[in-house]
């Protein structure tokens, strides 16, 4: 098994190779504005570091968000295109689940909350009973509007770091999304025969589109 994983739903552009047992190589660069420029070079770097060829990859793992859309789409279209050329399955995973898995690797076990930055003073969030056990659907809300018990839990992710007043029990790790953790989660799910999400974005918001008000007259009325 050789999994190529990447995620572009957060400010991190992260890619990793995983052989089913362990992470062979990982590259994580934090640059929220250059996902499109950094992703393929990152994939190339991890393949080079692991001494493997793209043709050896048996499955592509991709974070499907939620996350700011422009960057998110880079990962998804890249994953779908790789899947098409290589003829291998593309496994979608919730980006928050990758962070939760990384939190488990960092030693967080019981219930916790994952929150990422959704901009516009909102966070993407979900509640977990443990690293592999999400118990709510991913959602987008103002931090103050999250249920009190969710906010009181240990919290990881940039959303928690950004709104310390709403997340008193913040944990520093993981600071960023890690494709290595995402790949490890995928390997775990494959071994357990669990399903994946289709490689389609979790947008959670409708597109910003105001229907223009009726035609505006140029003559004074």
């Amino acid at each position: 098994m050789l999994l190529l994983a990447f995620d572009t739903a957060t400010p991190a552009v992260t890619a990793a190779l995983h052989d089913g047992e362990r992470v062979l190589a990982e590259s994580t660069v934090v640059d929220a504005r250059r996902h499109g420029e950094l992703l393929v070079p990152a994939v190339d770097r991890v393949l080079g570091a692991a001494g493997r060829a793209l043709a050896d990859v048996t499955g592509v793992v991709v974070g499907v968000g939620p996350g700011p859309y422009t960057g998110l789409r880079v990962g998804l279209v890249t994953a779908t295109a790789f899947g098409d050329v290589l003829g291998v399955p593309v496994h979608g995973l919730c980006t928050l689940d990758g962070l939760a898995w990384a939190a488990g690797e960092a030693g967080l076990h019981g219930p916790f909350t994952v929150a990422t930055d959704a901009r516009r003073k909102e966070v993407y969030w979900a509640r977990y009973d443990g690293p592999g056990a999400r118990v709510t659907e991913p959602a987008v809300d103002r931090p103050a509007d999250l249920p009190g018990d969710v906010r009181a839990l240990p919290a990881v992710g940039a959303g928690a770091a950004l709104y310390p007043e709403h997340f008193p029990d913040r944990r520093p790790d993981p600071a960023h999304q890690s494709a290595g953790a995402l790949a490890a989660l995928a390997a775990h799910r494959l071994a357990a025969g669990q399903a994946f999400l289709p490689p389609l974005p979790l947008y959670l918001r409708r597109p910003d589109a105001q229907v223009p008000a009726g035609y505006k007259a140029v003559l004074p009325t």
Binding site: E37, V40, D44, V77, A81, D84, V85, A209, A217, L219
Partner: protein
């Protein structure tokens, strides 16, 4: 001619997901998925709606184009993509897709300019472009007069609109007349039954001291709106066909007059017209008439190749390959305001140390 370059082109600068495949000057496939219907109710292209549609359509449209062309992706000599100008989020989907295919297939990637592609597409219709080529590009996003001594490396802007694009004026006037979006085809249709001389609408920037090759359509649009509103305010019917015909005549009169002036001043005996507005029947007819009178040969691709499409990007990509132009590196950015003078976006060099992306990629899949 099997040794001509086989190139796949991807275009996502606006609301069409276009994928074309060409071999040299021969069009093999032109697959388009359009989100125009989703934008119609907004009265204009909504960037986020366009980006979402591109993501959904991208890979299926590539697969459809390969099937249409009857070629395998592994046979391609290169992948070309619109790197700009256009809507940033929309461009990014196409650029990311092009990179993924080029990287996975071990093929060179060519990030090219949308405007130069609009010109180059005519090679699929009328063979090699004359050098230099004079081109009038008119669409909802651009109105430019360009002189191209070499379509792969040297495109010079002579003039462009100082306010609205010509296609934008069509959309706005169509909205004034209640004809829906997009406005170009609707105005064209109504104008056929109208009198182009019924109303004397202004010709922008045609005075003796105005810039010779620049355009302005904002004043015209306002003049049409005022005329229509005045009629409505007086309780009179609006002669939609006459307004459409007179407005359209004002636009195409200025476009063709300035384009022919540019040909004459620069000693160019060919005129290429491209972009969505080049599908307008009156523009085509008047350009033909005036070119004949001036002894200029007119080259206008069929309407399907004038609007945004992937074949035009493939056509420029094939020309890049044929002329041995440098490929792009895999850190190619999408540039929403890419200047027309940058026909292609070759690789970044970081203080002499190239990224190793390209070298590594060659050995990735096919040895």
């Amino acid at each position: 001619m099997a040794d001509e370059p086989l190139v796949l082109g991807i275009e996502t600068s606006c609301d069409e997901t276009g994928v074309g495949i060409v071999r040299g000057h021969t069009l093999l496939a032109d697959a388009v998925a359009s989100s125009v219907d989703e934008h119609a109710r907004y009265g204009g292209v909504v960037p986020e709606v366009a980006s979402r549609a591109h993501l959904e359509a991208m890979v299926p449209t590539i697969q459809r184009a390969l099937k249409q062309a009857g070629v395998a992706a592994s046979d391609l000599d290169g992948i070309a993509v619109t790197a700009g100008p256009g809507l940033a989020g929309a461009l990014l989907v196409g650029v990311a897709a092009a990179k993924a295919y080029a990287y996975a297939l071990g093929k060179p990637l060519y990030g090219v300019n949308h405007l130069a592609s609009h010109i180059c597409v005519d090679q699929l219709e009328h063979g090699a472009l004359p050098e230099p080529t004079m081109a009038l590009l008119v669409s909802g996003g651009h109105s430019s007069l360009l002189l191209a001594p070499d379509i792969t490396s040297d495109v010079r802007p002579l003039g462009s609109t100082i306010d609205d694009a010509a296609g934008e004026a069509f959309d706005k006037v169509a909205r004034v007349l209640g004809l829906g979006f997009p406005g170009g085809p609707a105005i064209d249709r109504y104008a056929r039954d109208g009198d182009p001389a019924a109303i004397a609408f202004p010709r922008g920037l045609t005075g003796g001291r105005d810039p010779l090759y620049d355009f302005s359509f904002s004043g015209l649009k306002t003049a049409v709106a005022r005329w229509v509103e005045a009629r409505r305010r007086d309780g009179q019917d609006v002669p939609v066909a006459d307004v459409a015909a007179s407005f359209q005549e004002a636009v195409v009169d200025v476009l063709t007059r300035k384009a022919l002036r540019a040909c004459r001043d620069n000693g160019v005996d060919h005129l290429m017209i491209g972009g969505g507005v080049a599908a307008n029947s009156r523009l085509r007819a008047l350009a033909m008439e005036r070119c004949e009178n001036a002894g200029v040969r007119l080259r206008v691709p069929r309407p399907g190749l004038c609007t945004d499409n992937g074949a035009m990007v493939a056509a420029l990509g094939a020309e890049m390959v044929a002329r041995g132009r440098a490929a792009s590196t895999f850190d190619l950015p999408a540039d929403s305001s890419l200047p027309v003078t940058e026909v292609s976006v070759p690789g970044h060099t970081h203080g002499g140390t190239h990224t190793h992306t390209h070298e590594v990629s060659e050995g990735n899949l096919y040895g």
